[in-house]
């Protein structure tokens, strides 16, 4: 998801995966994928040899990023997104010529 940010926090062990936000273990009712992701996380507990151990899991997401965005397009923006949209300096909607 965003392993570079997690790594910056200094976690002991890190599993990276290219799943979208909101669905870290897999899609709803995809028990096989969910179990495989959890198993890979837990196996790193035993296989990691030192701090900062990182594994990138090979799972591919079945949708493109555009499809993921489209599926969640009616989700309201977060408060921070709204704040950023409403007040970019000098770029208030409706004021530009």
């Amino acid at each position: 998801m965003i392993p570079d940010l997690t790594r910056a926090a200094g976690v002991p062990r890190l599993v990276g995966i290219s799943h979208p936000m909101g669905q870290p273990f897999g899609r709803p009712h995809d028990a096989d994928r969910q179990r495989a992701v959890l198993r890979a996380m837990l196996e790193l507990l035993a296989s990691a040899t030192g701090p900062g151990s990182q594994v990138e899991l090979p799972f591919e997401w079945p949708e493109t990023p555009a499809q993921v965005r489209k599926a969640s397009k009616d989700v309201p923006p977060s408060p921070m997104e709204e704040l950023m949209r409403s007040a970019p300096p000098g770029e208030e909607p409706g004021t530009a010529l």
């Binding site: 998801m1 965003i2 570079d4 940010l5 997690t6 910056a8 926090a9 200094g10 976690v11 002991p12 062990r13 936000m21 909101g22 669905q23 870290p24 273990f25 897999g26 899609r27 709803p28 009712h29 028990a31 969910q34 179990r35 992701v37 959890l38 198993r39 996380m41 837990l42 196996e43 507990l45 035993a46 990691a48 030192g50 701090p51 900062g52 599926a71 969640s72 989700v75 977060s78 408060p79 921070m80 997104e81 709204e82 704040l83």
Partner: protein
């Protein structure tokens, strides 16, 4: 967020080797999807709406066996419908039970946990919430934890 991460000072990364085989370990899960049981206090979404720089730094305990029927997600930065359709998308307690059945893991902890995934000021999280979770985990003899972002 990347600019913020670049400002973090690299510190000593903690590391505790697993003291026994995974098949003998009690495992707990933590999700940052902001999950709260229906009979528990919801995470404070209104506080974040009033001040988008703030995120609720508290935690909720999720007893083993809770399902999507028993909880709501409160994280304001994700599509919560996936985790509310199938809790194992964010907190895979049923998948953990299956791994116990397969002999991969010793046993599931009686209690699992959730946090909000958006906390820009982590002081209270680090000084109060995390030690409180750790104390409960010690009381339940948890050997290892899998923490998943949402």
């Amino acid at each position: 967020m990347r600019a913020w991460a670049a400002r973090l000072e690299p510190g000593l990364i903690p590391f505790t080797p697993l003291a026994k085989p995974l098949r003998e370990c009690t495992v707990a899960l933590i999700s940052t999807a902001g999950i709260a049981c229906n009979d528990d206090r919801p995470f404070d979404q209104d506080g974040e709406r009033r001040n988008p720089w703030w995120g609720d730094p508290s935690f909720r305990a999720i007893p083993l066996g809770m399902t999507e029927k028993d909880v709501r997600l409160h994280h304001l930065h994700i599509d919560r419908r996936f985790g509310e359709a199938d809790l194992d998308v964010v907190l895979p307690m049923r998948r953990l039970a299956e791994l116990v059945g397969e002999g991969v893991v010793g046993r599931p902890a009686p209690t699992h946990y959730s946090l909000m995934g958006y906390i820009l000021e982590p002081r209270e999280l680090l000084e109060q919430t995390v030690p409180a979770i750790a104390e409960r985990m010690r009381a339940e003899h948890v050997d290892a934890v899998a923490l998943a972002p949402a």
